[in-house]
């Protein structure tokens, strides 16, 4: 705690003989933590409401007749607290004995073993033998879906999972039924938990009652090599820890970052990792007589070089996919420039971004900034599926101030109440001229947020919609000096990085549709799997560079095996414009290589050697191209400064049809999640019934 810290209402108390000043209303537990005292707990969690039902955090407070639960006991002026007195230890030992009465002794076969709060705290407060000789209770296991495995006999009924699903995830489906000895944590009706955040239940469960189903019996925590990294399966940039054993990523866990994901993680990001071991490209392939045959790197490079010979630059093109890192995109861009081609693109979703200014394509309010908003308009985006973590932040804000949320798009349950203003561009007109009721809501708000998604930006009128959204943000006071309320919600981790690099058609260059429809003779796909590769003109020679045998590789004439995000150090820019880096947790399989190295090696084969031999040199070049890439670890929110908006195209009205959802199946959106058996089961469980219902 810094000396300069100021309090609204300071309260002084003594904890274990040390005087400390904290804010009034702080709980004794939190005050003790600030004083550096560790208090054991099961039910208390920083981000959940206080239940005070496990009783493990008992402390002694002078003048209180008996030990108090410190998590629910507010500090008082002059309070004298003892956190480690003989009385406290005795009380906690008593609590622990009761908790262990019905807890099975199955730690050797429990997946929580080694990272279990109960196990750890039993080391400090557990007795060496039991005094309980009656029958232990057993509880029937529940089916919470394909991601969360239950072992309810181990449950100590801390109710964290109930509070998480109700408060954070916004799906009040878990509860405690019956009472006393019969009490169970259950959904009552057998059903899978309908949340994109259900994997977090496993993290918050302090015992082995809720464990990861796909990870069951796979590894022990002490066998795993832990690497801090970044998730790339959506554009949030969730901070993760990759746990690997040998060549295999065993699991991925969220890492604390208050500005982005707090300590949560979306299910797709957490559980797609079994896709990293399947359908991998581990050696180069060459199409010979219509069939892909294994090849060596020199053969593959030679085949491309042969085909490339004599093709003019204007007939060469490159597309960067949703998972591409900035380094490889820059290398590809430089290679295309060396070949004299302006045909590069990254917008396979079809979104019409405006890259003339950086805040025209960023989520400028920032994810943490959502907590200051007082009205939100979502245009053509379903954040629950496109960025579940961001959606959880909106819900968090809604819990704080019940802010009004308007939606232009199809009706969905966003986990907080929202008002449907229309399902197409027309609804924006009513807001722009102030005639719609929600326009008044936005105008009254001090910090309104306008969020436009890919579903709106994709289409001929995308640029017009972007301009309309910006001008609406300005009109309702969303573009002030200290508040930037204009936001573009991206889906792909690579997108903002690509836009920052200018991975877009140059002067006279063709966009992705032009290239795909036969505009080029030679097309280089850098992990571009977002579109149906069958659309590519049959005459086009396709090079697929990537890590999965997905749509692009199936169509390719040459396949160059690359590295997935867990196998390389790559730079990604999240939708806020925050630059972050993944780290190598495991090595790429077989002969697969880091993507920038592949491009660098190929450039040498054709005699147009790219001017960087090391990753450091490439990153120096990255900063040259856009200084933003040098700002790792020092993110600053965009100030508006100039409210001048993106220009709307002169001609062309808005489309009349409604916005199609950008994602129809949250669980399978990219090559990794499409290769994941876990995600396939999730699709069958969650998305398939919804898609059937929609038909």
């Amino acid at each position: 705690m810094s000396e300069a810290q100021t309090f609204i209402k300071p309260t002084k108390l003594t904890i274990d003989g040390v005087e400390i000043v904290v804010e009034a209303g702080t709980s004794v537990l939190q005050a003790a933590e600030q004083a550096g005292k560790e208090i054991p707990r099961f039910c208390f969690h920083d981000r959940l409401s206080v239940a005070a039902n496990c009783r493990m955090c008992l402390v002694e407070v002078e003048k209180a007749p008996k030990p108090v639960a410190s998590c629910a006991f507010p500090v008082g002026e002059g309070m004298v607290v003892k956190t480690d007195s003989p009385l406290v230890r005795k009380a906690r030992r008593g609590v622990m004995e009761f908790l262990l009465i019905n807890h099975p002794l199955d730690c050797p076969i429990c997946d929580q073993g080694g990272e279990c709060d109960l196990q750890d705290q039993a080391m400090a407060y557990g007795a060496d033998h039991t005094r309980y000789h009656e029958n232990k209770r057993t509880v029937r296991d529940k089916d919470l879906g394909p991601l969360v495995k239950t072992n309810m006999t181990r449950c100590i009924q801390c109710s964290r999972c109930i509070r998480f699903s109700t408060e954070i995830a916004g799906v009040p489906e878990l509860g405690g039924t019956s009472r006393g000895e019969m009490m169970e944590i259950t959904t009552y009706v057998e059903k899978a938990l309908t949340s994109e955040l259900s994997g977090n239940l496993v993290d918050i469960c302090p015992v082995g009652a809720l464990t990861s189903k796909p990870y069951a019996y796979h590894a022990r925590p002490w066998e795993l090599k832990k690497t801090d990294s970044i998730d790339v399966l959506d554009a949030v940039g969730t901070n993760i820890r990759v746990d690997a054993r040998g060549p295999q990523v065993m699991r991925v866990l969220p890492r604390l970052n208050e500005d982005i994901n707090e300590e949560w993680m979306a299910d797709k990001s957490r559980h797609s990792i079994d896709g990293l071991m399947r359908r991998r490209l581990d050696k180069p392939w060459l199409r010979l007589a219509g069939k892909l045959q294994p090849a060596t790197w020199p053969e593959a490079f030679q085949a491309i070089a042969t085909r490339l010979a004599g093709v003019p630059g204007g007939r060469i093109g490159a597309l960067a996919g949703d998972l591409a890192d900035a380094e490889s995109m820059l290398a590809l861009k430089d290679l295309m420039a060396a070949l004299g081609s302006e045909n590069i693109d990254c917008r396979q979703g079809g979104a019409r971004f405006n890259t003339s200014r950086r805040d025209y394509y960023l989520f400028n309010t920032t994810i943490a900034g959502i907590e200051q908003a007082d009205a939100i308009l979502l245009i053509g985006t379903n954040p629950r599926h496109e960025a579940p973590i961001l959606n959880a932040r909106i819900r968090k804000r809604w819990l704080m101030n019940r802010l009004p949320v308007g939606v232009i798009g199809s009706a969905t349950d966003l986990t907080y109440p929202s008002t449907i203003l229309g399902d197409g561009a027309a609804a924006l007109d009513g807001l722009a001229d102030g005639s719609h009721d929600f326009a008044k809501v936005l105008a009254k708000a001090e910090r309104p947020m306008i969020v436009i998604g890919e579903a709106a930006l994709a289409g001929a009128d995308g640029a017009a919609l972007l301009a309309a959204a910006w001008s609406l943000a300005g009109k309702v006071g969303g573009l002030g000096a200290d508040w930037h309320g204009f936001n573009v919600l991206h889906r792909a981790a690579a997108r903002v990085g690509a836009l920052d690099l200018g991975f877009l058609p140059g002067e006279g260059g063709q966009d992705w549709q032009g290239m795909v429809r036969g505009g080029v003779d030679l097309l280089w796909l850098l992990g571009a799997d977002e579109f149906d590769a069958a659309q590519i003109s049959p005459e086009t020679f396709v090079i697929y560079q990537g890590h999965h045998g997905d749509r692009g590789a199936a169509r390719a004439d040459v396949v160059l095996p690359g590295a997935a995000y867990t196998e390389k150090s790559g730079t990604y820019v999240n939708m806020e414009g925050r630059v972050q880096r993944t780290a190598l947790a495991v090595f790429p399989p077989g002969e697969a290589k880091e993507d920038w190295r592949i491009l660098r090696a190929f450039s040498a084969v054709i005699g147009k050697t790219l001017p960087y031999d090391t990753l450091e040199a490439l990153r120096t070049r990255l900063v040259e191209v856009n200084p933003v890439f040098g700002t790792i670890g020092s993110f600053r929110r965009m100030a508006t400064g100039d409210a001048g908006g993106p220009t709307a195209p002169a001609a062309g009205g808005m489309r009349t049809e409604h916005f199609a959802p950008a994602i129809t199946d949250y669980y399978q959106t990219d090559p990794i999640s499409r290769a994941s058996p876990t995600m396939r089961v999730c699709t069958e469980t969650y998305s398939a019934p919804l898609m059937q219902a929609a038909e």
């Binding site: 509880v139 029937r140 529940k142 109700t166 009040p172 489906e173 878990l174 509860g175 405690g176 039924t177 019956s178 009472r179 019969m182 169970e184 259950t186 959904t187 009552y188 009706v189 057998e190």
Partner: protein
């Protein structure tokens, strides 16, 4: 017994409040301020249970009815499930027409609740607590103290207390129910309220009860005696206390 899987076979596929229930619910909801209607969950669940008893002869709360309550009170269904399963007064499984809730807590047990239980088993053919008789008329459950210990042993049948039971009287009681009669509620030995069995033993003087002057003389005499005692206490104490140990 797990509450997770409720008797699927008996579970109705739909539930709707009947006009009488609607009427009762309207009155109940008026007791709570707007936005706080979830507080009405317990009384509304009672309305459901009553309606089921009225319409099907089995007063229980099926899951579809809990869903209907949740929709009515605008709360997540799980919150209703939690309440309905927490309170044993709500039956989450079908029960017999007559719900025999036999108290076996200490006072009733000391006064012979074992005989009552045995009589219930004999009269209904039920083997264990929680079961329903083959004819579907009776369900027997064991309950904790219902607060009628003065007239122990007792049991509650549906909503009414039957007290001062013993084996034969219990059997007679159940036989009456079986015949379709409704025996008078309360003591089965004709005791009035919780008065002594042989009639009142105190406050027997009717005249004194209603005459405010009756005890005035007694009160005056007591006040005088107290004043005299106080005067004695103010006088000098005795010369020496008695030696310790005597």
């Amino acid at each position: 017994m797990s509450e997770t899987s409720i008797a699927a076979a008996a579970e109705p596929t739909s539930f709707a409040f009947d006009p009488l229930s609607d009427e009762q619910i309207a009155i109940i909801l008026k007791r709570y301020p707007p936005g706080r209607q979830a507080s009405a969950v317990i009384p509304v669940l009672y309305v459901v249970q009553k309606q089921m008893g009225r319409l099907t002869g089995s007063a229980w709360v099926p899951r579809v009815a809990m869903d209907a309550v949740a929709a009515l009170l605008e709360m997540p269904p799980i919150r209703v499930y939690e309440v309905a399963t927490f309170y044993l007064m709500f039956n989450t499984k079908p029960i017999g027409r007559f719900h025999l809730q036999v108290c076996t807590t200490t006072p009733c047990w000391l006064r012979g609740s074992d005989d009552v239980v045995a009589a219930c088993k004999r009269a209904t053919g039920i083997q264990h607590m929680g079961e329903t008789s083959v004819d579907g008329l009776f369900t027997m459950t064991e309950v904790e103290c219902l607060g009628a210990c003065v007239n122990a042993p007792m049991m509650q049948i549906n909503d009414d207390y039957y007290e001062d039971l013993d084996g034969p009287r219990t059997e007679a009681l159940l036989a009456a129910f079986r015949r379709g009669e409704t025996p008078p509620i309360g003591s089965t030995i004709g005791r009035e309220g919780s008065m002594s069995v042989g009639g009142p033993t105190t406050l027997t003087d009717e005249a004194a009860l209603w005459n405010p002057e009756h005890y005035a003389a007694e009160r005056r005499a007591r006040a005088e005696a107290e004043a005299a005692a106080a005067a004695a206490a103010a006088a000098p104490p005795p010369a020496a206390p008695p030696p310790a140990g005597e």
